[in-house]
Symmetry: C2
Subunit: 144 residues, 2 copies
Amino acid sequence: MTKALALAQRAFELDEVPVGAVVVVDGKVIGRGCNQSVCKSDPTAHAEILALRQAARHLGNYRLTSATLYCTLEPCSMCAGALIWARLARLVYAARDPKAGAIDSHLGLAGVEFSNHRVEVVSGVMKEEAAALLQQFFQARRRA
Amino acid sequence: MTKALALAQRAFELDEVPVGAVVVVDGKVIGRGCNQSVCKSDPTAHAEILALRQAARHLGNYRLTSATLYCTLEPCSMCAGALIWARLARLVYAARDPKAGAIDSHLGLAGVEFSNHRVEVVSGVMKEEAAALLQQFFQARRRA
């Protein structure tokens, strides 16, 4: 999660909502991402999506069945959907997103009944650090 | 939708689940996609995601506020989430997806209460053609 937080910091420096994510398999980071929707002109360029895509490219397989995704914010419906398609084993996230979070805040997408895949979820890891960074970003925005 | 169906046919030829999508602004196609998750080793490479990404790149803006997405199958939660982040104006889809569809079959993501964006939806356009292609694909798979 420290690595994901460093990526969130990078997003902050790019003037993007500070969220970072890494994909880990067998203790090795094989995918990294930080939010870049605005600078890449890509509505799908969330940290999680970029990290999952890089990891799948690395493995040469769209299925990441033994992977864990660490991310600094609760995934939205787009990212949660991507976790399911990737058959991700485990999600570890830091702060909750009461607005758009689709794991615990809304929808419960890690284990909906109609899906044929369930993702194990751990939440709250380093949530203070992740939330502080987001708060700092939005406070700076409001002042701008 | 004819163009989206032609892209679905292309996915079929790539041995991918035959779904196609196009993004239209002012009567002009600015984004095209066909399902390529397997051949691209990318769990996010659904037709809709690829079409949205291409359209946003074309406009130099992740927001597609005046765009219509035509796709041959009801979007899943990942793709529906992407439509929301792209602030898409309108979605026209062909066949329903009772398994993973997140617009009308499950979740109702085009207009959930917690979202700050609603997508106008038209469904059923050329649904017989889209469904026939999918059926043909899965029948061939079962025989293989």
